[in-house]
Symmetry: C2
Subunit: 338 residues, 2 copies
């Protein structure tokens, strides 16, 4: 076993990888939410000037990626690798957004865990000595997701209380071998966990067991406890999934006092009619690249565990009666300040 691997699922990077810059772009509803002012750009036009929602999603990601590169003062084509993916069939939002980037591209699919998967692989890519800079990014769009996964928007279908609202947003980080804080220090790669939940309108319940599994593995592998983190942030468990996660930890006698969920942070559930909260690849991607990154820069949090969760189903698997496997990848961020 190498020195970097410190447990069954966790690696400690030999030299912490710097987050050089981050950018977040969102839609109108996200701009109207509690984190609206943290975004780099909010588009009042949900089409982002394009002719379809799928093209809008690509355009949004492309803009976000360009902004992140610009803030890091890096030419996109000089990046050593781009890691990213999205929810659209065949991950076309990412592929089309990156087709002019001129940089090596690794396409990922981890559903709503994709941002953590991308950050994990990008950090390991740099720490492994394979490059000095890499982008990690993801996105989702309410309108493209709604018609692909659920119903045509025009149908106006009612949503169940456990349903979540797919966030229209993109988030991108530029990681570098050389740079300042905050840093990525650890990666805990997730296993697929299937608790037998079959309700595609209750993703939170399907993903909570995976979050519990990966967080538990992270604490075991690192010897850290939840209190060692200023914040533990899950991706998009929403109200139902967050309650389920708290319940799973309570069962082990552990209280997650410092837990936040991006799905509960990005919208005002009282005012914005999102039922159990936000979801989608772009939810935690944009919250990470905006509020969380700036919060670490400003010293509000010195140590953060970012654990994005994904529901690895498709409309086809649900129609065929399958349960919903979940996955969660966790990435530890640190400012280096004690």
């Amino acid at each position: 076993m190498s020195e970097k691997r410190i447990g069954r699922q966790t690696v400690r990077l030999e030299k912490p990888v710097s987050v050089l810059a981050g950018a977040a772009v969102g839609g109108d509803k996200e701009g109207d939410g509690p984190l609206g002012r943290c975004f780099d750009y909010i588009s009042e036009d949900s089409y982002f000037g394009e002719a379809s929602w799928e093209k809008a999603e690509s355009r949004m990601l492309k803009q976000c990626f360009s902004l992140a590169c610009d803030k890091a003062n890096i030419a996109p084509s000089s990046l050593d690798a781009i890691f990213g993916g999205d929810l659209l069939n065949q991950c076309t939002a990412s592929c089309f957004a990156m087709r002019d980037s001129g940089a090596p591209f690794f396409g990922l699919y981890g559903a709503c865990s994709t941002m953590a998967e991308a950050a994990a692989l990008a950090a390991m890519f740099i720490d492994g000595g394979f490059g000095s800079t890499a982008a990690a990014q993801s996105c989702s769009h309410f309108c493209s997701a709604e018609r692909q996964f659920r119903f045509p928007l025009e149908y106006g279908g009612q949503r169940t209380p456990t349903a979540q609202w797919t966030v229209t947003a993109a988030g991108a980080l530029i990681l570098g071998r050389d740079g300042g804080a905050p840093y990525i220090t650890h990666v805990t790669a997730g296993k697929i966990v299937d608790a037998g939940i079959c309700d595609a309108a209750n993703m939170g319940a399907a993903m909570a067991p995976a979050a519990f599994d990966t967080l538990t593995a992270h604490f075991e592998d690192t010897g850290r406890s939840p209190q060692d983190y200023d914040i533990i942030v899950t991706g998009d468990l929403g109200y139902v999934g967050s309650k389920a996660l708290a319940g799973l930890f309570e069962h082990e006698g552990i209280e997650l006092e410092n837990h936040l969920d991006c799905g509960l942070m990005i919208f005002d559930r009282e005012r914005q009619d999102v039922h159990a909260g936000g979801s989608g690849c772009g939810c935690c991607a944009s919250v990470l690249a905006s509020l969380l990154l700036s919060g670490m820069r400003e010293g509000r949090w010195n140590r953060m565990l970012f654990a994005a969760t994904g529901a690895l189903m498709s409309p086809t698997t649900s129609q065929q009666g399958e349960s919903i496997p979940g996955i969660c990848h966790a990435v530890a961020f640190d400012t280096g300040v004690q």
Copy 2:
């Protein structure tokens, strides 16, 4: 620039990573093809005992993964990581096949380039010191692909001469830090290349420019020439794409004498009515894990460049008039014998 990075897109691994084992599972038509006897298992039942083609594809991959682990004498749950993906919406063939594996899972989407992307990332994962073993795998199924990307099988639609036949097969490699030949020595990560091809029934033409781009980068970065390889194997360019690739190199005054294409190897085009050849993630995955791996083991080839190509489109993007971006990732294999 680190020592491992030897050019814009290529890394040379510090310590070559061993291919501990490989396994390939295929369907009836693949069993009837020229490579049928190279497969570990051929299922005469295209449903693989399941109730749907999507479930069949998962079952096939699961069987292939289990066989590969078994041949490497490794318990699946002891793998440090699994890298893989497929063509189904939300990559469900891979996610559902791996949900009981008990190993950390990184989901990928690179269309038909996925096997090379998986092998590249798994090799870098090991060489970077993040684990000692990893699986790289991919799969496709004619019936699940046909109804998802084209027409219901029952419709019996005619196929154009440039169309390719999606291979029903899975391929898996188990890579290890410690072990014998063959080894992975280099990885050249691909950029997305869009040559403006819009015909979704001519994937070969859409992918050939990406293959040319990545192979050219590989030769430039490494200082090697095509003659330095015993074979250069592309994924599934088929007849049209292979001709296009040869043409692009001829234009540069280079003759690719030692080029083979998995899409042309897996079927007998004269006898099996596959038009321009085979395609799909499982095509080059299964050819790599069967014929190519055993050919290297037996000393038939000592140095191989494996370059899998992918067409990064979806039915939606083609219906919206978009062109088809291509990508190609290349992985160099070596027996260490001069």
